[in-house]
Symmetry: C2
Subunit: 199 residues, 2 copies
């Protein structure tokens, strides 16, 4: 710790620097931002962290964060219980919900299989997913990221789920809407070609 920085400030910078994507410089900026807040504002932030952490836990069914035992989507009578969309993290649910096109249920794995990082299927919420696959479920959509880990996880789960007689699908690969073909990488272009549909 440099002599000229007060200890509680150094501690706060350390804490902010733990967020991925927030470097030492960004953390310092945020810490000074906190110092510039009114006492009420700073306490509201501190309290919000505490309350999110103590007031929320994983939904018994889909593993998304919820204040109750079961989350709003799992509890909703309006959702189609025959489809489960498998995602890596609760953030992905938010993204898919924004499309307003999906009306089924979700399941959060809380990670992806990654042998490089020593993360196996047993560290993910796979057991919890398999426990949900009763006769009502007709399709499981793999909505993991189009990365090596996302692919491996989708393949692993498909191998477990298909033998149960449940349709297992995967999000389409292709060109991002609004993008330029010129700048698409070869792999994406190849996948877009493979997945071409009739007009």
């Amino acid at each position: 710790m440099p002599q000229n920085i007060a200890e509680p400030l150094e501690e706060l910078i350390d804490q902010f620097a733990r967020f991925p994507g927030v470097g030492r410089k960004g953390a310092t900026r945020m810490a000074y931002e906190v110092m510039g807040m009114s006492n009420e504002q700073a306490m509201a932030l501190s309290k919000a962290i505490e309350q999110a952490k103590t007031g929320l836990h994983r939904c018994r069914l889909c593993q998304d964060y919820t204040p109750g035992e079961v989350c709003k989507i799992c509890a909703s009578a309006k959702r189609d219980r025959s489809v489960i969309c498998v995602v890596e993290s609760p953030r992905d649910i938010k993204a898919i919900e924004r499309t307003h096109e999906y009306h089924g249920l979700y399941h959060v794995l809380h990670g992806l299989i990654s042998p490089m990082d020593g993360i196996g299927a047993e560290q993910l919420c796979v057991k919890e997913l398999l426990a949900r696959l009763n006769d009502t479920v007709k399709e499981v959509i793999m909505a993991t990221s189009p990365t090596v880990e996302g692919e491996a996880t989708a393949m692993y789960l498909a191998k477990l789920i298909k033998p149960m007689g449940i349709k297992t699908t995967r999000l389409a690969y292709g060109l991002p809407v609004g993008s330029s073909l010129e700048f698409a990488d070869e792999t994406t272009l190849y996948r877009a070609m493979q997945g071409r549909g009739e007009l």
Copy 2:
């Protein structure tokens, strides 16, 4: 609030989104990051905010944040009391201290004069600076940013301080070290030309 996001999480996202430079997306990412922390980690973060805010206040002399009545720099017997370096914010002290080249005292204005934002001299710690200008002080260095507001503030203070018979200086303008002349803007280049020194 979308139906599918738990309220304490939404509140936490709102809180993080208040940091300048942190958009809604970044705030969401940070909030989920908190959810993924252990309880101990999250409580340490919450506590650090509270403690920085309640455990620190402004130094009676220079207005930097400190746990005591007077900060370490103002209290240090090793610092040159004949020079005061005036900065916009406590962050700037940190930056100047990293050069290890300045051994005088500091004074934090906690802002810059900005008529556009309705910020006048009376909202800054100018009174506190003037109160420090006794016979010991031989030079006041204006180390405000090279912006319109930084310039205006430096000029304003110089007008008050020079008549007191105290030397008033300003940080040099010029090319950033390691930068390419080719990419320097005209104003910087003009200033670098004006401020050229003998070799």
